[in-house]
Point group: C2
Chain length 430, copies 2
């Protein structure tokens, strides 16, 4: 049997603890599977004294994570500190510079600095792997970069944030408002004290940027992603969507073709009979479409110690077997150029909910605003709301350019009988 692969783990929180537990419990199995032992030789965390329920005997302790990059007994650094910058970024860069491979679960880091770090890894002929950064334990980075490598992929989309999916699922099942469910999710530990990273769609966008680059071989570009979160989604919208045969999900969608690359994150109405509509709670799902394979779907838990440890272990096992090929594929040095498209160029269907004072001529004025932008209505629902209260007026449209839709909506919003800001959600036809 070959020499052990020596691993240094930075960060011993929930995920780091899970990684140590997995490597400990399945040490013999993994050694058998990959022909050599994977051994944790060094760790670093903020508080040495804390009882983590894991034996650290015989493992070197570094108070400073940066020491892992220069530890001669470490072949691979596993970075589980988190954050796009600061110590995590410094450690990964130093480790790669020192000729060590790196495994990370840090999506913010890869979304922000992936290309630079991948180029460094290539130059040093070491691996930079990040299966754990996207969709938890679902081996989707591997599926895209290896399993579907014979395809030209045209579209990839998914439910990539368990917090948002949990909140939307709960809102649907209980009829409660966003703020209520968010507060509960915070108490349960499913949402952070500052939830904006999740509920404003930034986390989903980080993951989408990574997936798109892996899938299409285009330069990773977080900055050009159109991002809308879920704060404005109401139980009323979820109810109307259900009436129309849809569920509301926060989805990250990237399409790539001759015109260029369009990346967007926003709530979507998806037909209730589609696979992705059935993905509930903290689960994640990714759909990849290729020219030969057709549509493939990957589902599983999107976060947590176990799934994340599973993904980190898979990356380590690959590295132990000498698989160090670039995952931001094709190799960053020759990454395909593409044009990043803006949402103005987007065309699609829309769900619009208006809150209107019930008076004669209302529909005529709305219809005129739509007609002047060539927006064609598909379905209409109007529901009375008790005398004196505004009425909900809901419509879906046929496919129309985003720019036209937004101009029509701006005009409608200024109409005197409009009681609230119009709510608009894109309808996605997968």
């Amino acid at each position: 049997m070959n020499k052990p692969l020596r691993v240094g783990v930075a960060g011993l929180g929930t995920v780091g603890g899970g990684v140590l537990q997995l490597l400990n419990r399945h040490g013999a199995l993994i050694a058998h599977r990959c022909g050599r032992e994977i051994r944790v030789t060094a760790v670093s965390a903020r508080h040495k004294g804390r009882d983590r329920g894991i034996a650290l005997d015989g493992i070197a302790w570094h108070d400073d994570a940066m020491a892992l990059a220069s530890d001669a007994n470490v072949d691979v650094v596993v970075e589980l500190i988190g954050g796009a910058d600061g110590i995590a970024a410094e450690l990964v860069e130093a480790a790669l510079n020192a000729g060590k491979s790196v495994v990370t679960g840090n999506k913010a880091l890869i979304a922000r600095h992936g290309p630079r770090l991948a180029a460094l890894a290539e130059k040093k002929a070491v691996a930079l792997r990040f299966e754990a950064a996207v969709a938890g334990g679902i081996p989707v980075v591997k599926a895209l970069s290896e399993g579907l490598a014979g395809n030209s992929l045209s579209r990839i989309y998914g439910i990539l944030n368990g917090t948002c999916n949990y909140i939307l699922t709960e809102m649907e099942y209980t009829g409660r408002a966003f703020a209520d469910v968010l507060a509960e999710a915070q108490q349960l530990g499913y949402a952070e004290a500052d939830p904006s990273f999740d509920v404003d769609g930034i986390d989903t966008a980080h993951k989408l940027a990574i997936l798109a680059s892996v899938a299409f071989g285009t330069p990773l570009d977080f900055e050009s992603i159109f991002i809308e979160g879920i704060r404005q989604v109401t139980p009323l919208d979820i109810e109307f969507a259900a009436e129309l045969g849809y569920r509301i999900k926060l989805i990250g969608i990237a399409t790539h073709g001759e015109k260029g690359l369009l990346q967007r994150v926003h709530p979507c109405l998806v037909a209730a009979d589609k696979a992705i509509a059935a993905v509930n709670g903290v689960f994640n799902a990714v759909v990849a479409e290729g020219d030969f394979v057709g549509q493939t779907v990957y589902q599983g838990r999107g976060a947590g110690a176990g799934p994340t440890a599973s993904a980190v272990a898979a990356d380590l096992i690959d590295i132990a077997q000498g698989h160090i090929h670039a995952v931001l594929s094709p190799p960053v040095a020759g990454a395909g150029k593409t044009r990043n498209l803006a949402m103005d160029g987007y065309e699609g269907r829309y769900y619009v909910r208006l809150s209107v004072d019930d008076q004669p001529g209302v529909i005529a004025e709305i219809a005129a605003a739509l007609r002047d932008e060539a927006v064609s209505m598909e379905e209409l629902l109007q529901r009375p709301n008790g005398s004196g209260h505004p009425v909900s007026f809901v419509m879906t449209t046929h496919a129309v350019a985003e720019a036209k839709m937004m101009r029509a909506l701006a005009r409608i919003a200024r109409l005197p009988f409009i009681a609230e800001k119009p709510e608009v959600i894109r309808i996605e036809t997968f």
Copy 2:
């Protein structure tokens, strides 16, 4: 750039043609992704003259597929002839013996001779890859052997035969009988002239045997699989199942634990809200459950030129990058021992449909037969069928040992008022 990987393709039917088309269309992309060209240097098929719409200029033609094994210009043989024995088996063995890697889509061959061939590949330090043998283009062999390699897997199950899933889906949507839908499927080319391989569950069992060995690292064992096909499923069963909240699917299920390995293929009632219940038509789905990752689901097209070519290409790309590790993992030489369990030891819930002559005392006698084997009924449905006709009496049971259930059913079948052979379908609680 490294030397090209030289590929010899045996079999130029639909799938072989798809492989050539893919490698031709995406040659530059693949070369860029894996750092070297993948070049078809030789082919073999039965009829040289046939127009396949593929240019074969500059590619060596062999009338005898066996010549690929000794062609000095071939590094990897792609076997797409099919069949567990005969020329396919001879070619794969000869190629491995000649030190060439092999990629095959032949599930019968791997299910019957996989361990022997994998041992030979190990001895010769070449690759034997068969992603295309299971679930078409879904990279599920890769997911199990690499993506989830850090887990101990406890259960794997799936819809693995598109023909059966198409027939069951059509029966459900149209209410037509098995024989009707089968005849139509044969006309459409979705089912073979001799459909027994598909509809009797053998093809599903071949794939299950492969998946179980890859997932659990247990010796591949096709012979011990319990197999029941879908011929006896009626539109009436599908209707009753729907009334009870289930859909009927042909599923291959393998569970592995301390007691041993149980592999079974049979129609199942699955709760309508489960992901696998929503997999329709020619689609396949595989669910894998691991101790760290939890449940993961993989879906896509299970057959066809495009998906199969996608899987073959992925294997070739891995080989081109030097990834030749054993896929029947852990390496066959040290494959884990296990005890193969029989269905007598199985315990589960059952759906039973009886056709009974409506007369006093019927239910009392059925209930007594069940009580004497400690079978506990959960739900009951009885539907009149017009005066003078037998009545449908449907029940579901709580979990009970298969042996007890079968004894109770044998006794019930002999009761004088039973008009037809009782129909029994297992209920799977995923």
